[in-house]
């Protein structure tokens, strides 16, 4: 177990033993993001499709007069699309892409709460038994019988960014 803890991504925990996170559901799984990166939680907004953009960031929304992309994390994890419900929300986060802060919205099925996760309960993503790309996950944190997934948004967005960049040069 100790060994496992050591392998948990340091860029998330940064030497801390506790982490304030916002937890939310996407397609039946519980995710969490560090609370400080969350700008705002919005009700669903009208989306504008961007023809030709990658499906992962296939639309934009009007976030207080700014036009920001809406990302669908489900696609990064190969999950089923779910119908919007009364609980669906958009979480607006600030992430660093290529050295610049970028605002983006993430579509979620339900937002739970801000809570504190303990590093001691964390585990690095297992190397087998998971369909998801391990580098998209910073760590898994046990809570009761469940796991909370802490996605590595940097990796997810950068992967999409890079792929789209190479895609553009081919096209």
């Amino acid at each position: 177990m100790n060994e496992a803890v050591r392998k948990i991504s340091e860029n998330l925990w940064g030497g801390r033993d506790e982490l304030e996170v916002l937890t939310f559901d996407i397609a039946g799984e519980m995710f969490a993001l560090e609370a400080v990166s969350v700008q705002e939680i919005l009700d669903l907004l009208p989306e504008t499709m961007v023809p030709g953009a990658k499906a992962f960031v296939g639309s934009v929304i009007n976030f207080r007069g700014k036009v920001i992309p809406l990302a669908d994390i489900r696609l990064a994890f190969g999950m089923e699309a779910t119908k919007p419900t009364i609980d669906s929300r958009i979480i607006v986060i600030a992430i660093n892409i290529g050295g610049e802060p970028v605002l983006a919205g993430i579509r979620t099925d339900k937002v739970h709460e801000v809570t504190t996760l303990l590093r001691a309960a964390g585990e690095p993503p297992p190397s087998v038994g998971m369909r998801w790309r391990p580098d998209f996950i910073d760590c898994l944190v046990k809570r009761g019988a469940e796991f909370i997934i802490l996605p590595n948004l940097q990796a997810i967005f950068s992967a999409q960014h890079d792929r789209s960049a190479t895609g553009a040069s081919h096209g």
Partner: protein, 662 residues
């Protein structure tokens, strides 16, 4: 919020001063006798020296001092202003810029050389032996001077004592302090100045020398100078001289009544007080807020329009009017006159004339035309290329010009004017014009066009903006490398502008740049394709028409419509954007022009005109070239702005794919 770095502030100020100095010098070059310009340059140099020393730019201060001294002598009439002097100081000015930018760099050698130049220029001009001003003293005149400084002068850093000393240097002097305004001790503020002075001066210097003493405080002070004709000359000079005043100024504060204090504010000062310097990004922020306000307002008016509440409607209308006015004011704030931009070219042309040995006169027109600041900044480079090109390729040498029966001096006209939401900037020369045959030959040999391709003049001229294209036989220091004109094209494209070239062999060429007044707002045509709404820049739109049903039906195989006898290909945006919805029964065509091509864009519905604030696309969408940005509609939805050039390119690619697949 932190205070701005003082060094950075100084640099900004120095850059402005240097610009003023340069403008003054160039004006002076045209009219060497212009005393006002001499004064202006002197003042600029003096201020630069002063604030340079204050901010620790000692090398700059020391160097500037020499130029200032030289100009001081010109100002006093000891040395005439000459072209050599102007040129020397112009070069020195560049050195000053270097000293401002890199104060610790190794500039000494250059500085010395420039100063030697300067000295030579001054001495060369100095033949009439005007060296000592005091000597020829036939008529001494007697002045009565009365002056007072504002009460807060000392707090602002003015020290009256050196002024008195300077007066003394002018000649025999009797100074009396007027202490009547000094209040009783408890009312006395130690930093205030309560004293005014009366001076009797016997001097060989002209009246203007007295004004010069006060040159830097002139705007705030009261100064009366009276010339007294005969008497004192013989009588009193020596003895009264020191019965003066020193008791006063430093320690001598005063009282509230201060009848002298608030000197009349003259027009010039008022004007400077009205200007405020604001960082551009603050304006951008404000612009964003205003944009949001406009959007929020239009949602409000939609709501109000839907409700029967009359009061709500009244308020909504007020808000609409106010936010509209606010937006207009905001746009005006960002506008700056092109004077600043054109100013740089005078120097450029001056230097180019020297380098090429041509005589070139630069004329400018419409400098007061105002353009969005960000546009001005981005226009500078392309204009430099174009002006260089005109000087180097366009204009002939004086001999050639004489042979062609033209005046020896070549003319370049730089003009700006506004025309329906665009600013048109024209560079016109009266040189040899563009040789169409040579352009064609060059284009053919480099494979840009097919041999004997049938091109209009305009298409032919546009070729000079292709990368690597140059018809110059020789590469010079200035141009001819074929780098530059394509940069011009690219920059103007990025500004959503167009370039138009006209030229007559032997008579000259004219290049016009038409550029939208602002990058922040765009006039667009709002259209609907499937469920999505899009904005097409109105500047690209030529006309709208309905797609005839028969064309609609049969356009599986070909996508052309005939428009007044010419074939216009069209793209179905529905297919391009894969909308997957049922097409509207009557499809519309928006004919857009992309440079030389005309293309129809088939849409479901044309909604109408839409003036809109442009929002950049997120970095995550940089791969989507079809859209140049986005905008927020009245109902809060986002509409994407089509980049017509890229859209057409993309359409061509898709069709190529289809052909390959089919």
């Amino acid at each position: 919020m932190s205070f701005p770095d003082p060094i950075a502030v100084f640099r900004t100020e120095a850059a402005e001063l240097l610009e003023q100095i340069e403008a003054g010098l160039l004006d002076l070059n045209v009219n060497l006798g212009d005393k006002d310009q001499v004064d202006a340059v002197f003042r600029g140099l003096h201020t630069l020296k002063g604030s340079g020393a204050m901010f620790g730019f000692d090398a700059l201060a020391a160097f500037t001092h020499h130029c200032e001294t030289a100009f001081d002598r010109v100002r006093k009439g000891e040395v005439p202003a000459t072209q050599e002097l102007v040129t020397a100081v112009l070069e020195a000015k560049d050195h000053m810029r270097a000293l401002v930018d890199t104060p610790n760099g190794d500039h000494e050698a250059t500085g010395e050389a420039l100063l030697a130049n300067l000295r030579a220029a001054v001495d060369g001009a100095n033949s009439p032996g005007a060296a000592s001003p005091a000597k020829a003293a036939p008529g001494r005149s007697h002045f009565k001077i009365r002056f007072s400084l504002p009460q807060n002068a000392m707090a602002n850093g003015t020290n009256p004592l050196p002024l008195l000393d300077e007066l003394r240097e002018l000649g025999e002097c009797k100074i009396v302090a007027n202490r009547s305004a000094i209040p009783s001790l408890e009312l006395l503020a130690p930093t205030d100045l309560y004293i005014s002075w009366e001076v009797e001066l016997l001097t060989t210097q002209p009246r203007s020398a007295i004004d010069d003493v006060f040159i830097f405080v002139m705007d705030e002070m009261q100064l009366d100078v009276v010339t007294v004709e005969p008497p004192l000359a013989a009588g009193t000079p020596g003895k009264t001289e020191t019965a003066s005043t020193e008791a006063g100024p430093a320690a001598a504060p005063v009282a509230p009544p201060a009848p002298i204090a608030p000197a009349p504010v003259d027009a010039k000062q008022k004007k400077t007080a009205e200007n405020v310097r604001v960082p551009a990004e603050k304006l951008d922020e404000l612009m964003d807020r205003v944009g949001e306000l406009v959007i929020a307002q239009s949602r409000l008016s939609q709501l109000a329009g839907g409700s029967g509440d009359l009061q709500l409607r009244a308020v909504s209308e007020d808000v609409e009017r106010l936010s509209g006015e606010l937006r207009d004011t905001m746009m005006v704030l960002r506008m700056v006159p092109v004077t600043q931009l054109f100013g740089r070219f005078r120097r450029l042309v001056h230097d180019l004339a020297h380098e090429t040995g041509k005589t070139i006169e630069l004329l400018t027109e419409g400098e007061t035309t105002e353009v969005d600041k960000s546009v001005i900044e981005r226009l500078a480079d392309p204009l430099v290329h174009l002006v260089r090109n005109s000087c180097d390729h366009g204009l002939e040498t004086p001999e050639e010009r004489r042979a062609a029966g033209k005046p020896e001096a070549g003319h370049i006209l730089l003009s700006a004017r506004q025309q329906a939401g665009e600013v048109i900037i024209t560079i016109k020369d009266d040189g040899r014009g563009i040789n169409k045959e040579r352009v064609r030959a060059k284009a053919e040999s480099s494979g840009l066009i097919a041999p004997n391709a049938n091109l209009t003049d305009q298409e032919l001229y546009q070729l000079i903006f292709q990368p690597g294209f140059s018809t110059a036989q020789t590469v010079t220091n200035l141009s001819g490398r074929g780098v530059g004109m394509d940069v011009v094209k690219r920059t103007i494209d990025a500004l959503r502008g167009t370039i138009n070239v006209t030229s007559h062999v032997g008579k000259g060429s004219e290049i016009s740049l038409a550029i939208p007044l602002t990058l922040a707002i765009i006039d667009g045509l709002l259209v609907r394709v499937g469920d999505g709404r899009y904005v097409i820049p109105l500047s690209a739109v030529e006309e709208c028409l309905e797609l005839p049903i028969e064309e609609d039906m049969r356009s599986r195989g070909r996508s052309f419509i005939s428009l007044r006898d010419s074939l216009v290909p069209f793209l179905r945006l529905r297919d391009l954007f894969r909308t997957g919805t049922k097409p509207d029964p009557f499809q519309k065509v928006v004919v857009v022009s992309t440079g030389s091509e005309r293309v129809g864009l088939v849409v479901d519905q044309i909604i109408g005109d839409h003036q809109t604030v442009i929002k950049g696309m997120s970095k995550l969408h940089h791969d989507v070239a079809t859209f140049s940005g986005a905008t927020i509609l009245g109902d809060g939805d986002v509409a994407l702005i089509l980049d017509v050039g890229h859209l057409v390119a993309e359409g061509q690619q898709q069709e190529a794919h289809l052909r390959a697949a089919g």
